[in-house]
């Protein structure tokens, strides 16, 4: 494993987005993972529609909440093609599901993997390098006032309430950390990102880990 790895360096991570007052973090993290998986396969980095997942994933609750794993199950079962964000724009509220013709551009997933990696963050790093960015859930209560630095304390596991995307890790310094993309806009945290200590399942970051294949 390298000491430092970040999928952003390979230009396969889309810009930080802003979920506004919509509780659709679960859709942002899943769609972020699909965009990256599609780009890692050699395609152009496309911004895909989060609103489509929010509106159409019937096993979730749109802007009122949802689960990354349920969203991935729905995407895998239906093989629905995610269209471009520009075609189905984000409205920050749940709406009616739009359907698109077969000829339109879209990205569907071929499968996904979802595991509990608690106590195995070294393996989780390997998965990140081998599979691509990881959609994870965390307890983000203490993130409300976060400005920067590496989160090591005040962040428990076992009470996941937010979904984000791990894009990389850095073990070059005294405190190894995950590089995590959030969906609260680029003015929050470190240009929209947060650093979470590797080891000890800080914030429950290793409890629900998913990777998607396209």
């Amino acid at each position: 494993l390298p000491k430092k790895f970040d999928w952003r360096d390979k230009k396969v991570i889309a810009e930080v987005r802003n979920q506004q007052t919509c509780g659709g973090c679960w859709a942002f993290s899943v769609v972020g993972g699909i965009e990256s998986a599609y780009a890692i396969k050699g395609n152009n980095l496309e911004e895909l529609s989060v609103q489509q997942v929010i509106d159409c994933s019937y096993n979730n609750y749109g802007c009122s909440g949802g689960s990354t794993v349920s969203a991935l199950s729905w995407l895998n079962q239906t093989k629905v093609k995610l269209v471009r964000d520009s075609e189905y724009t984000f409205k920050a509220q749940t709406g009616l599901c739009h359907y698109f013709g077969h000829s339109d551009f879209g990205v569907s997933i071929t499968g996904f993997a979802a595991y509990d990696f608690s106590g195995q963050e070294e393996e989780m790093m390997r998965m990140l390098v081998n599979w691509g960015p990881l959609a994870v859930t965390v307890d983000a209560v203490s993130w409300q006032d976060y400005l920067g630095g590496i989160i090591q304390y005040h962040c428990s596991s076992g009470r996941a309430n937010h979904a984000v995307l791990i894009t990389g890790f850095d073990r070059t310094g005294s405190i190894p950390y995950w590089i995590v993309q959030n969906s609260w806009g680029s003015t929050w945290g470190i240009d929209g990102y947060v650093r979470v200590k590797i080891g000890g399942n800080v914030c429950g970051i290793a409890d629900t880990v998913s990777s998607v294949f396209v």
Partner: protein, 77 residues
Amino acid sequence: PSRASRLRLYRGSRQSGFESAKRIRLLNLSSKDNKTAFYGINEFSHLFPEEFKAIYLRSIPHKLPRYIKVPKGKEKP
């Protein structure tokens, strides 16, 4: 808004300001070096924790099986 509702709003914002300052002070107690996370006023600090949770923290937990490492050479596609 009426005078009473303006007063309620003012009291509410003063209370949330006091609460966030207290919260941030507690969170920063562990920041002994420049690597540990630091906390302060940002775009969400004015919210009460319950409000923040109700708006932004809407991920539903999902229990997953533990990852079991497969020995090299025995991986399945």
